[in-house]
Symmetry: C2
Subunit: 415 residues, 2 copies
């Protein structure tokens, strides 16, 4: 059973927005055993949308479209669907009441004709209630295939996918069972890993695939199994995971899974009742931001001092000017003082500090662009490491954040 995703909107084709909807929809479909065959982004243009629909219909059982449902003239998805299905638009009383409610409650502005038009739906469609917006979803069934049109606004689309679309697909289609298992490795390249795993890979059962997903400083190995029962697929995938774990040993890092490291850390800290703070220079608040993305972070995260300027390191973190003079602001000694002082200032159990030069120019130190020192202080230890993280600002910062989480996780696991 296959699905296809069609995202509609000129803004995607000119690169003004990144299409994040597709990845979300693909994830949700995969969880319920529906493989996505293709993702296609097309313009707000009738012939083009219809061509994409024809091609997708030939290949897939479920076609999910997002976008082009807004109230303005560049939004043409509904009219195009009418042409495609030889249908007409009719007013949905239920949607009109909902649109009127939204305007009354949240906007306090009069309802225009274009807003009322949001209640026009295909006569052959079942309306999917869009709790958070004025553009309803639509579900059209034709010759055993399902076409689903959703708004492009990510949070409206997500809500519709989770609450309505996925449960209905589960209900209407028989699906194979799919398992993905991800194993995270650090400190070894993609080809060296492949070399170590070559005999396992050559002997993989036909129902299992192995993929390598390199990212900054780590490679994720993804096993995917497909079959008719949960027991069968899990057994197949687990058997391969055991072989990989045995072949790689220490190269496997922490827990396996698709969870980001900050979620793993959040669980460890919460479980053990420890608190955390960060003192960030070159990472500029990104560590704090990744931590606070997680709901419930306030249980263990006390805060961060983003001491971007050297003077802020002195004024807020009480780093000694002598240490800075003697070792430079990008040094192991300053990283350790930052972490230690932050830990005392915020009264936390663990602290992370970063100081480095992300470029493009050298700043307040002579350290080469890409040099980063990271210190982690735990209740009974201090570790500090120096890294050379290349020459590209964005990558230096993200690598430093990843490395900081990796070092922190190692220290927390000792408790």
């Amino acid at each position: 059973m296959f699905a296809e995703i069609i995202t509609i909107g000129d803004e995607i084709l000119i690169g003004q927005i990144i299409d994040t909807n597709s990845a979300f929809i693909a994830q949700e479909l995969n969880k319920i055993g529906v493989s996505v065959y293709q993702i296609t982004s097309v313009q707000d243009e009738r012939l083009h949308i219809k061509e994409a629909l024809r091609e997708a219909e030939a290949r897939a059982d479920v076609i999910i479209m997002t976008g082009g449902l807004g109230p303005t003239k560049d939004d043409i998805t509904k009219h195009t669907l009418c042409e495609y299905f030889n249908d007409t638009l009719v007013e949905s009383k239920e949607v009109l009441t909902h649109v009127e409610g939204i305007f009354k409650k949240h906007l306090g502005v009069p309802l225009l004709q274009v807003n009322k038009n949001q209640a026009l739906v295909l006569s052959k469609a079942e309306v999917l209630h869009n709790e958070f917006g004025t553009a309803p979803g639509m579900w059209v069934k034709r010759e055993g295939k399902v076409f689903i049109s959703l708004p492009g606004v990510p949070f409206e689309m997500k809500n519709l996918i989770g609450k309505t679309v996925i449960p209905r697909i589960i209900n209407e289609f028989k699906r194979p069972y799919i398992v993905h298992k991800t194993i995270i490795t650090y400190g070894i390249g993609e080809s060296a890993l492949a070399d170590k795993l070559s005999s396992i890979e050559d002997n993989l059962p036909a129902a299992v695939k192995l993929a390598y997903l390199p990212s900054l400083g780590s490679v994720r190995l993804r096993l995917t199994g497909k079959g008719s029962s949960s027991e069968e697929v899990n057994a197949l995938v687990n058997a391969e995971a055991v072989k990989i774990r045995k072949a790689l040993g220490d190269l496997i890092y922490g827990d396996e899974g698709d969870e980001p490291v900050e979620v793993v850390i959040a669980k460890l800290l919460t479980k053990k009742g420890y608190t955390l703070g960060t003192a960030e220079s070159c990472t500029g608040g990104r560590i704090a931001q990744q931590i606070t993305k997680i709901p419930g972070a306030s249980a263990y995260f006390k805060g961060s001092v983003v001491s971007y300027a050297t003077q802020t390191k002195i004024d807020v973190l009480n780093v000694s000017p002598e240490t800075i003079d003697r070792f430079s602001v990008v040094s192991a000694e300053v990283a350790v003082e930052m972490a230690t002082n932050l830990k005392n200032l915020l009264k936390t159990d663990f602290a992370i500090a970063t100081t480095g030069n992300a470029g493009p120019t050298k700043g307040d130190s002579d350290a080469e662009v890409g040099t980063v020192f990271i210190a982690v202080v735990s209740p009974n230890a201090t570790v500090v490491e120096r890294f050379l993280m290349g020459s590209q600002r964005e990558r230096i910062v993200q690598k430093a954040v990843n490395k900081a989480f990796e070092m922190l996780q190692k220290e927390i696991l000792k408790f």
Copy 2:
């Protein structure tokens, strides 16, 4: 003249990664007058890749592929291209030397056969040198159409696009002239805007399109013009921009352009020699992170105190416990104290503070989820506002960040 982009990789179709490459490539192509007709994401599967290539070849003059060039067995793009072009792989001495150099300089591990295979290229292809990685780009010309295969690793791909692909396309193809102009509006919905602009929209010249791009709290209006000369297209687009500005007046916000607000602020602060600091609670470091993303931020950004815990507001920012007791930690009074004290602590000209409840639970205050107070302190004024930002954590935080930048920009513009 049209281009198409094909991104190759199972990880895209299962939603494990978001395809950010396409947006980047589309942007760069649009800048030089090449319209992207379609973006297609396909699996690591030979028949599927070939089908996508056939379809794209029928529609476009330039086909850019990314992904599937790694050294592992799931990477099959090169072999598939051989089938598609009825070609064979040959070893490129130049690429082999480069791969050996990378291993020697950066990795210090022995070169495996799979790494040497990175030097195999299509005999009909011109090799595009990949400065930052082992997978070379390839440029194949057939019957006036060009097929370009690039690595999927974003920073390698970006470097190849910028330094090699775009200059070559400029050289080989005659292109129309394209102009995009974006006007940013705040505080008015998409449909109300469309209503105000309806007569302008009805009378747009055929060569100009208008699109509405709503995002949190703002709508961007994008005018796109296409024609044979720079003068002609600019004149057409500017004439419409003047009409829109006249029709919307105050609803247009600050400068127009595609620049994010933090870049606009960076330019204002740098020009005027002012400095900035932030005191963040519910935004958790995201304001600091967005500011420090911009190269050169150290010239005006001194730092941030992410006072996530109430105690951190007291310990680091010296917010008075009496103020917190009397008004609660989510209050205008606390926001103002945070901003004022941060400004004094870091000795900056401007300071932003946020305190609010991003949910999912209520935390250290009785404020409803979604309540956010934002204070901005300038050299001679203090402003504070209360917002209700809905019920979804991620959106509350991003809205608060956008609002904070908006308020800050207003204050800076007074100087």
